[in-house]
């Protein structure tokens, strides 16, 4: 360290979510001098109950308020703490379908990207952050979706989680980044600096200068500067392009943000399906992917209350019947958004637009989801969409519009990616096939921003494996 506020390091990793944590760990274990900074706090997994309002305030960016503006607004959430999104999500895990890699390779000219080549990277990540199935411990609410889909003749599966189940005690340990890679990073000698925000980067004398601020125990921000030969940006799909644009790097940066937009329904069954000590739901319907997929959401009374908050009788409904209820979703890969900084403001603005085709896919998906839930024995379905009718039987499905009619807050997402795609086609990519930012030296992106499009499946496994691939390649090439 040089003085009180200038820190020199060989490699600076900005962000400690799945992309940053995997990258930093590989570099530290290779004997490199690495500093990993994180804007949020370093908090224990149990610092707040999962999916509680305390967790929203402690671990989510902007207290859980993220809204993409546009004719059809979309609300999304991101983590902001050591471990990033992996701390606040369910950890549902998939290896990327091969057809997704094939599509990215073809359309974006990404070199050396296919399922066979990625398999060692998935395996390496899964050896550190363990992936397990709930099996017979899965909740009734979760199984109902599978039963309904199977009754329709559709493919439905149990998704594994980044989780170590303790079936005897109906508990377990989440395999978030803070519980896995970050610990290895620190054990290998990496320096972790939470509560540190990088505002911008500039190049000087063959080094990157990262200027930002560090929040002290007293809550005061103090300026801090890092000097590094190599910088890996892994701040997430919204903050990464925002940082690059603030730093004057804007070629294909923040122009193509994608989501998995999601709409939800509450299904009420004739018997209890939802118990307080249930494991998080894990079943998913794959029949219609990649157009749309279906799943089951966290369905605590608080989540049910919010899902039904548009109804005047929501309190009584939830108080009386929450054990018979579950929240289910349909999600697609539609819509495209931009990320821009606003002069005088710290937070970037996101603008999204959906085509009629995007909304038609979600409209069809919603109907299919309801079909499966009625087949699973749902007595009533409450769409979480303003103006939509309650559904009491499959005959009521004819009352659903073909094209989704979504008003504010009805469309949500927990997956954001693709804001700085990778590949050799410079007309549409921000970084090369391994994340090195076009036209720069020593500057890399290594997070969800790099993904060339929707993954169809939960993207954390893809983000980790791609980060592992790119970090390994950078080490092999000695960062050239």
């Amino acid at each position: 360290m040089n003085g009180q506020s200038e820190i020199e390091t060989e490699i600076l990793v900005i962000g400690s979510g799945p992309g940053g944590a995997v990258s930093g760990t590989l570099f530290a274990e290779a004997g490199r001098h690495v500093v990993m900074v994180e804007e949020g706090d370093h908090l224990a997994l149990e610092a707040a109950p999962h999916f509680s309002r305390e967790e929203m305030l402690l671990k989510y960016r902007n207290a859980g308020v993220g809204v993409a503006l546009g004719r059809h607004k979309l609300a999304w959430v991101e983590g902001r703490c050591v471990g990033g999104g992996s701390e606040v999500n369910r950890g549902l895990y998939h290896r990327t379908p091969g057809y997704v890699f094939d599509d990215w390779r073809r359309r974006f000219a990404v070199h050396d990207l296919d399922l066979a080549g990625m398999t060692p990277h998935f395996e390496a990540c899964e050896a550190v952050a363990r992936v397990e199935y709930a099996g017979i411990a899965a909740s009734d609410m979760s199984r109902r979706l599978q039963q309904g889909a199977q009754a329709q003749g559709w493919l439905a599966i149990e998704a594994p989680r980044l989780y170590r189940y303790d079936h005897d005690h109906r508990s377990g340990v989440k395999q978030s980044m803070s519980a896995t890679f970050v610990q290895r990073f620190v054990a290998a000698g990496g320096a972790l600096l939470p509560r540190t925000r990088i505002a911008r980067l500039r190049r000087m004398n063959g080094h990157w200068i990262a200027q930002g601020s560090r929040r002290g125990e007293d809550g005061r921000q103090r300026p801090v500067t890092f000097r590094a030969k190599t910088v890996f940006i892994a701040c997430g799909a919204v903050q990464t392009p925002a940082l690059l644009r603030r730093s004057g790097i804007s070629h294909n940066v923040g122009d193509s943000l994608r989501f998995h937009p999601m709409v939800k329904v509450v299904a009420e069954f004739d018997r209890d399906v939802n118990r307080p000590d249930d494991f998080d739901p894990v079943h998913q319907v794959k029949e219609f992917e990649p157009r749309f997929g279906m799943g089951c959401s966290i369905s605590t009374p608080a989540m049910l209350g919010v899902a039904l908050s548009g109804r005047p009788d929501h309190w009584q409904l939830v108080a009386e019947r929450w054990r018979r209820m579950g929240i289910y979703y349909v999600q697609s890969g539609g819509g495209e958004a931009s990320v821009r900084n606003l002069p005088g403001f710290e937070d970037p603005i996101v603008r999204v637009r959906f085509s009629q085709g995007d909304l038609s896919v979600l409209g069809e998906g919603l109907r299919r989801l309801c079909e499966a839930l009625f087949a699973a024995g749902a007595q009533r379905i409450y769409p979480c969409l303003a103006g939509y009718p309650d559904l009491h039987s499959p005959g009521d499905l004819a009352r659903l519009p073909d094209v989704l009619q979504a008003s504010d807050g009805n469309m949500t997402s927990v997956h954001v990616f693709s804001s700085c795609p990778m590949g050799e086609d410079r007309r549409r990519t921000a970084a090369n096939s391994f994340g090195k930012v076009h036209g720069t030296d020593g500057l890399y992106i290594n997070d969800a921003s790099l993904l060339c499009g929707p993954t169809s499946v939960n993207p954390q496994g893809t983000v980790m494996a791609v980060a592992h691939r790119n970090a390994s390649e950078a080490l092999t090439r000695r960062f050239h």
């Binding site: 706090d41 370093h42 908090l43 224990a44 610092a47 707040a48 109950p49 509680s52 309002r53 305390e54 929203m56 305030l57 402690l58 902007n62 207290a63 859980g64 308020v65 993220g66 809204v67 050591v82 803070s178 972790l192 939470p194 509560r195 125990e217 009374p301 608080a302 049910l304 209350g305 919010v306 908050s309 548009g310 005047p312 929501h314 309190w315 009584q316 939830v318 606003l342 403001f345 710290e346 937070d347 603005i349 504010d408 807050g409």
Partner: protein, 123 residues
């Protein structure tokens, strides 16, 4: 006259819609959560919401002669309903936002007492 507390008054109306018997201290917990959410939201939204809250607060002045926070409960409720059903999207959006977060705070109440303060792992 004390400073108007628009958030507390609005949360009161929203709580009354579903749990009129809720204690003052629990209402305070819900209002604090909504305030924390407002404080944490993206900065450009925060400014917009402050302006909206100000408009919402003073809108009843011409008709009732009082700001929202000083209205009688029935008049407050009518004012919230008017914005909820307004043809202007930003008014509906504002009430929808407060409803969502007041609701989340409300439903989280039973578990509020058994929380230990969050401990940071490292500086």
């Amino acid at each position: 006259m004390s400073k108007p507390d628009t958030v507390a008054a609005l949360v009161d109306v929203l709580v009354d819609e579903s749990r009129p018997g809720l204690s003052a201290s629990e209402r305070g917990v819900v209002a604090d959560y909504v305030r924390s959410t407002l404080a944490g939201m993206p900065d450009y939204f925060r400014i917009g919401f402050r302006m909206l809250a100000m408009m919402f607060e003073i809108a009843p002045l011409p008709v009732h002669g009082h700001r929202f926070s000083y209205l009688a409960p029935a008049e407050r409720q009518a004012h919230v309903q008017a914005w909820r059903r307004s043809r202007m999207g930003f008014r509906r959006s504002m009430i929808a936002f407060y409803t969502t977060f007041a609701c989340y705070g409300l439903y989280s109440l039973p578990r509020a007492q058994d929380r230990a303060p969050a401990a940071r792992i490292a500086a």
